[in-house]
Symmetry: C2
Subunit: 142 residues, 2 copies
């Protein structure tokens, strides 16, 4: 592992780099809402069961946009609203999210869930289907 | 995606559950130090390039222990010190960590690195080798 160590000392560690971007509970909850729940609007994110506050939500959406993980368009029915969506960089986080789900299921979760069973037994298919859902929204709206 | 949605509304979302545990920059930096850098001591964690403060470090080590992600033994050379190590739950986070590294490499990182190339081209072998390093420390010390 010494070579990895010397790499970390020479340049920034990729995990530290990632955590600057996504190492925050609320940031990943917003990404979850967009990735798996098909949410696109500020008001929809507020409805997430974790009850994100408006100021944190506004802050994290701004941060995610500036980092290129999400982007937005004007809402077609309401010029004062925005429709947020995941960019390719954001969609690329699906493998991280799925590994998080599988880790929780394996080590922390106790309640059985047919959805988790599906993700566990058909991981590549679940990832493919989620990406297709996102792509089909993008094709219709962007 | 509606089935997933109804699951999330009925019980706690696994991503939210995970973020309660690991959704924090410092927590994952400590796990990184233990997992890839072979660090085990309080003083060693303080030396990480991100410069974690002693009070945050103490808090996160306590949290990680109470969650069963890490555990500790008395330092064989110094009774006032502890040796921290990853439990099976902690080691199970390696797939999440590796996906984070691969995501950063694919979308954020620009500087080429032989170590990242190695992780990218030999992911299962890298995971296996890391697990073996951890296991061999455990066999010697626990």
């Amino acid at each position: 592992m010494n070579t990895y160590k010397s790499h970390v000392e020479k340049s920034e560690c990729p995990i530290a780099h990632a955590l600057d971007v996504i190492g925050d509970r609320w940031t990943l909850i917003i990404i979850r809402e967009m990735m798996f729940m098909g949410k696109h609007e500020f008001g929809e994110f507020l409805e997430a069961p974790e009850k994100i506050s408006t100021n944190i939500l506004a802050d994290r959406l701004k941060k995610l946009s500036s980092l290129g993980i999400i982007d937005f368009i004007e809402h077609p029915q309401n010029k004062t609203k925005k429709l947020y969506y995941l960019t390719d960089i954001g969609v690329g986080l699906i493998d991280v999210m799925v590994e998080v789900i599988l880790w929780v299921d394996k080590y922390l979760s106790t309640a059985p869930s047919p959805i988790i069973e599906n993700i566990k037994n058909h991981t590549p298919e679940f990832i493919e289907k989620t990406k297709k859902n996102i792509q089909s929204w993008n094709e219709k709206n962007l």
